[in-house]
């Protein structure tokens, strides 16, 4: 088989992923609408009532959208973790006569699509709703790059987790041990600059958290870039981390799937 055959089968499998995603779109749309309303009212109206400056409404709402992405990714990873022990869709993908990269790439792209399908409308609607409360300076290419890199990073994170952990560990340990600290120290509900003004050493420590680069990169694409971390730094960190995670994903998947026949990468 030549490369175009691999890509053609890969394309059909991605279409199958999209078909499955569209089938649950109605339920997901209701879920995400409820979550958008909850987050818009909380960060757009309730928190200013508590004393939060209204200029922070959109930045904190964007943090809430990243939390939604984490939540959707976590749920999707859980479903796939159960699938590994039951329906074994991943085993089916790897049994197809295509390159290992196609077999592993398709579920990764599927996960990215599933999360994007929900978070992009959530982000757009909420920002539009609250846009009169902040000065927005959109840089579309930066936003697009950050959305792709962010979703790739999150999809990789959950794919590795589901291959490395048992289903019980996935549901019991992943949130308190990894996602909880990433979420709490991730500058999702405050800006990195605000912490840097109070304690530069704490702010430097926070840079170890990839979530900080993700949210600050998105804020840098939506607001005046001077108010967030340098965009080049955030995108390079996320791209570099994603490259490392791709290698780890391939390793974790091949180990967990226990392939009978070792497949080549081309």
């Amino acid at each position: 088989m030549n490369i175009s055959d691999h890509l053609s089968i890969g394309w059909h499998l991605v279409r199958r992923e999209a078909y499955v995603a569209v089938r649950s779109l109605k339920t997901d749309a209701i879920d995400v609408s409820v979550m958008i309303l909850s987050a818009v009212f909380t960060f757009g109206y309730f928190m200013p009532g508590m004393g939060m400056p209204s200029a922070l409404c959109v930045p904190t709402y964007l943090g809430a959208v990243v939390v939604m992405a984490l939540f959707f990714g976590y749920t999707r990873g859980g479903v796939m973790s159960i699938d590994l022990n039951a329906a074994k869709t991943m085993h089916f993908y790897t049994s197809l006569p295509v390159s290992l990269w196609v077999s592993l790439g398709v579920p990764l792209i599927g996960s990215m699509l599933r999360i994007m399908l929900l978070t992009i409308p959530a982000g757009a609607l909420g920002v539009w709703w609250l846009s009169d409360q902040s000065v927005l300076v959109f840089s579309w290419w930066r936003l697009l790059l950050m959305v792709v890199l962010g979703h790739l990073f999150l999809a990789l994170l959950f794919m590795i987790a589901l291959f490395r952990l048992t289903t019980d560990q996935y549901y019991g340990d992943l949130w308190p041990r990894l996602l909880g600290p990433m979420f709490s120290f991730g500058c999702l509900f405050f800006t990195w600059q605000a912490i840097a003004r109070v304690s530069s050493s704490v702010a430097q420590l926070l840079l170890l958290n990839p979530m900080v680069h993700l949210i600050e990169g998105i804020r840098g694409a939506v607001f005046e870039p001077a108010h967030s971390l340098p965009f080049a730094m955030t995108s390079v960190v996320l791209a570099g981390l994603s490259a490392l995670l791709v290698a780890w994903y391939a390793y974790a998947a091949t180990r967990r799937l226990e392939l009978v026949v070792q497949k080549g990468s081309s």
Binding site: D31, V34, S38, F41, T42, Y171, G172
Partner: protein
């Protein structure tokens, strides 16, 4: 007879989860308070309220405790939901004892487990942050009394869902549609006075949400301010709501389980 059956079934629950008990204690009593404490009681107030941050820290953090309580109670109920859909597990227990014994054993065990897992949450954060978490009027007795009422109410709420759902597939939607909005409107982030400052006309509806009494109770127990509802009001509402929900859960589960 009934009590001995309940005791035996509770012992069975302990055997089921004792292998993961240490892991849960580390996760929910040590790691979670550590990350949520620093995140919500130190970093977020600085970022959200600037100079007023330290004063608002306890208010924000105590509200955020609501989601930890809801997650822990949800995890306890998850076992019952799984057993409901696993082949005849609950039916078997009902056939060798009785439905009321099975329900009481699981319900009591979930409350005890959730209470134990949340017991050290605030003390750990207080030890970690010391004076940075300003709780000038903290009454431990009031706090633990409210914690018990909150656990009772949320476990009842989750059992209600356990009886309501038709399959495990809808678990995510239950959380997103049936729990999260109530938490957001229930003082998870902003207390009642802040919500009513912006939407005063919401007052009659806002106070119908039992989760609001949970966050108000935590804040009142630690901060002792007139801005929050009193301990007695919060405890009464939570207990009444918990009783109503547990009765509803009992009826729903009984209807769902095939008892000969």
């Amino acid at each position: 007879m009934f009590i001995s059956r309940v005791a035996v079934l509770m012992l069975r629950e302990w055997y089921r989860c004792k292998h993961g008990a240490w892991r849960d204690m580390i996760n929910y009593s040590l790691l979670w308070p550590f990350s949520a404490g620093i995140g919500f009681a130190y970093l977020a107030p600085i970022g959200l309220f600037g100079a007023a941050g330290p004063d608002k820290a306890a208010e924000l953090f105590l509200g955020s405790f609501l989601i930890q309580a809801a997650v822990v109670c949800f995890m306890q109920t998850l076992a019952v939901m799984r057993e409901r859909f696993s082949p005849a597990m609950l039916e078997y227990h009902v056939s060798v004892t009785s439905f009321s014994a099975v329900f009481c054993a699981r319900f009591l065990f979930s409350i005890i487990c959730a209470f134990c897992l949340l017991f050290f949450y605030i003390p750990v954060v207080k030890l970690l942050l010391g004076g940075r978490l300003a709780t000038p009027h903290l009454s431990w007795v009031s706090y633990y009394w409210i914690l018990f009422c909150v656990v009772f109410c949320i476990v009842s709420y989750m059992y209600f869902w356990a009886g309501f759902i038709g399959s495990m597939r809808v678990l995510g939607s239950i959380w997103k549609r049936g729990t999260e909005p109530f938490l957001y409107l229930g003082g998870l982030w902003a207390p009642a006075y802040a919500i009513l400052k912006v939407f005063p006309s919401w007052s009659p509806y806002l106070w119908l949400n039992p989760f609001l009494y949970a966050s108000e109770g935590f804040r009142q127990a630690a901060l002792g301010s007139e801005q929050f509802a009193s301990i007695s009001t919060c405890a009464s509402v939570l207990l009444v709501a918990g009783c109503l929900l547990s009765v509803a859960a009992y009826g729903m589960l009984r209807r769902r389980i095939v008892v000969v």
